[in-house]
Subunit: 444 residues, 2 copies
């Protein structure tokens, strides 16, 4: 009789939802401090918009009305699988009403028909920031979105104990210029094969480059050497230079990446590295690309990714280049919550439970609760005039720290953790600041 969970569609119990709310509030706060404006887009896009990238088609959920009218094309809508495609459509649709560069954040669920497995869900929450310009967008925004996202993640770390992260950054121009400098025409083909480095190893990649793309053994070796460069500072520039390859695009890519690394070293030391093997699968990236690992959860893959796209949105005349990063909120939280590593101090917002003496005096309890709420203290009234022991257990089961007693001898409030009970006045009593709202953090 009891319904079973749907695989791939995680749902949180109330205490875990408090953790999620705290994390989402914190992300929003950081994004808004940096002037990013919120938007939400509808859950559905036309299948045409969703399937423009052939490789993604297989993951889409199609949506149609159960009783679609005769002749109504039933299969033309699908649930969005990310927030970038909807954002690009929103920018095109509303370009005349937006001010560019347009800085937006967007926190919504997305859906993918993937096989559920660790770190992969069919429904999950993403939080994206992007900056989009009209026809042009300055390179300093590539630095900015990385720093804003790292600040957001660092705040989750210091505030709640979410594990620290390291963002791995590369630049498509750097790799393309390097390959072109080696005389390779089809740089994307090289990139795709080098991207398999972690999976199949350097020897196999070298073999692919030589056998399939006709690179010399020496050129293949240099491609692999490039991919092994990973530095926390701008020393990657010298190491690339030492490989002796020359190309204009390579210079451009090196300079752009050095700018990101330098800024991050100053702002969030140790949280960003230049990692020249990062490619990112989606082919609309044209410059900087970002991936992020969470310490101790490397097997999840990247929890926060993005990049620069110079032509994601276009109406034929104008283009809107952009740069953005997306953090997988569910991907971070679901494992931390499941392992009990991130917890809330209680399962309800309630700080005070007002006990009820007898049903006839419920009105008095309600008045006490109203007085506490008027000063911003989340308060419930006991649902039943039970024995006080039962009412205290009601609070205890939910983690409510205080129980308020009224009555002939005057009001008093009991901290049910310490057992201490003191006389109190609902018009003036204030809980310790740390108890006003549920706290969220690593398990004690």
């Amino acid at each position: 009789m009891r319904p079973k969970p749907l695989s791939g569609f995680p749902e949180f119990l109330p205490a875990a939802r408090i953790v999620e709310q705290a994390v989402l509030d914190s992300l929003r706060q950081t994004f808004e401090l940096h002037g990013f404006a919120s938007i939400e887009t509808r859950a559905v896009e036309t299948m045409d918009a969703l399937t423009r990238k052939g490789e993604i088609t297989k993951e889409v959920y199609v949506v149609r009305r159960l009783h679609a009218a005769e002749g109504e094309t039933g299969d033309d809508l699908g649930l969005h699988f990310d927030l970038t495609v909807p954002f690009a459509r929103y920018v095109l649709e509303n370009a005349g009403h937006l001010a560019f560069p347009f800085r937006r954040y967007q926190v919504q669920k997305v859906w993918r028909g993937e096989r559920p497995q660790e770190g992969r869900y069919r429904e999950f929450v993403q939080a994206d920031i992007d900056v989009v310009g009209e026809n042009t967008l300055a390179g300093h925004h590539d630095v900015e979105v990385a720093l804003v996202m790292l600040e957001a993640l660092e705040t989750l770390h210091t505030r709640f104990g979410v594990p620290p992260v390291v963002m791995h950054v590369n630049n498509r121009k750097l790799a393309e210029g390097f390959y072109r400098g080696l005389g390779v025409e089809d740089h994307m083909a090289v990139l795709q094969r080098v991207d398999k480095l972690d999976k199949i190893g350097p020897d196999a990649v070298a073999a692919l480059l030589v056998d399939e793309l006709g690179l010399s053994a020496e050129a293949a070796a240099k491609c692999l050497e490039l991919a092994t460069i990973c530095t926390p500072d701008t020393s990657f520039v010298e190491r690339v230079r030492a490989l002796g390859v020359q190309h204009e695009l390579l210079d451009e890519g090196l300079a752009a990446l050095a700018e990101v690394v330098e800024a991050a070293e100053a702002a969030v030391p140790g949280r960003l590295v230049a990692d020249l093997k990062i490619a990112r699968g989606l082919d609309y990236y044209t410059g900087t690309v970002y991936e992020t690992e969470m310490a101790g959860f490397e097997s999840l893959g990247s929890i926060c990714s993005g990049g620069r796209y110079d032509a994601l949105a276009t109406d034929g005349k104008r283009t809107w280049p952009g740069v953005g990063i997306s953090v997988g909120v569910t991907r971070i939280l679901a494992p931390l919550i499941a392992k009990g590593e991130l917890v809330a101090s209680r399962s309800v917002p309630t700080c005070v439970l007002v006990a009820v003496d007898a049903e006839e005096t419920r009105g008095t309890a309600l008045a006490t609760a109203a007085a506490l709420r008027a000063r911003g203290i989340p308060t419930e009234v006991a649902p039943k005039a039970d024995k006080f022991g039962k009412q205290i257990r009601y609070a205890d089961r939910r983690g409510i720290p205080f129980v308020w007693f009224g009555g002939a001898q005057g009001d008093s409030v009991k901290d049910i953790r310490s057992g201490e009970q003191v006389p109190a006045d609902a018009a003036t009593w204030t809980p310790p600041a740390g108890d006003l709202r549920p706290s969220v953090g690593r398990q004690a």
Copy 2:
């Protein structure tokens, strides 16, 4: 080339989204002050769960993977059309992990395949509160959810100028007892016909009651008289008594409704009436029922509805009776925003734009911005070292109130509304409290 909006799927521009965020934050604040815990449920439910109520079937959006595997049943999921059915399923699924009475709020999008028209959308946001007990639930929760929702809506009125509301409340037991006292067997049949009063008028309803249900003309007249009773206080009790009908259920319904009306009269005078014609379409309601009209927007229909359901969730052995109310956030906001009646003071969270003298001094501007953000002031740095007039226009287009200038003569900040410019220190300057965040209200 420009994509067109999808009818029935409203999306807001950034300034309107700020209005929506302010309203959602305010609702959440009220709900949490009363100890309601947030949950979110997945967007999809099994079609089985969604179509248990036959009449709703036609509105459901079916969801399936574009490339569902052979033999995979493709049509077994649908998007939820309300938050009550998912909540009932969540309670059943997690009953062992929840503490009852369980008080939850839930703010999510829902989807209905209806024909789009004023006040009707295919995707819209609802905000629900419910209290659910295990096997029993005290009647005072029927009072509580009405008062909490009215407080939430009253706060929207006083804080943002959302029009005031009147909640119309009835009790199914009252009507059932009255009809039974008249000797009618099929009380639901009477209720369904009386529910058409506003559409077809009293004479037509009386004819239906006599012709289709065989009521005497006198009994039909009494049913209509009952439906016309609408009082802001408990005087409805005497008016019902004066009709001379006796039944135990009638007494129970009158007492329960009187309790709600009395409490509301004290807490939120003028915002709740006993209205004995309110029926609510969904047949799972078993006691109190609520509907709400917004002043000046009566044509939208009810913007906030709900009721008591004694057996929505059951596993065969145990039942979870509940009472809840749902407010149609999009239904309230979309028309107010479209008419320009509810606006935000700016389209971005940003309070200060730091101007950039020359690209070489961007670092100084970034440091100023960081100092302001460290004290919680939302700040952006100008995207380009344009002429100051252009940078001021950047702020003006977005409604950013302050522009910060650095340079050889020392820092200063300009209120671009008044034109006043004063020397300032980024480590100490604070904007007026009303300018820190965008304000939301009726158009000036």
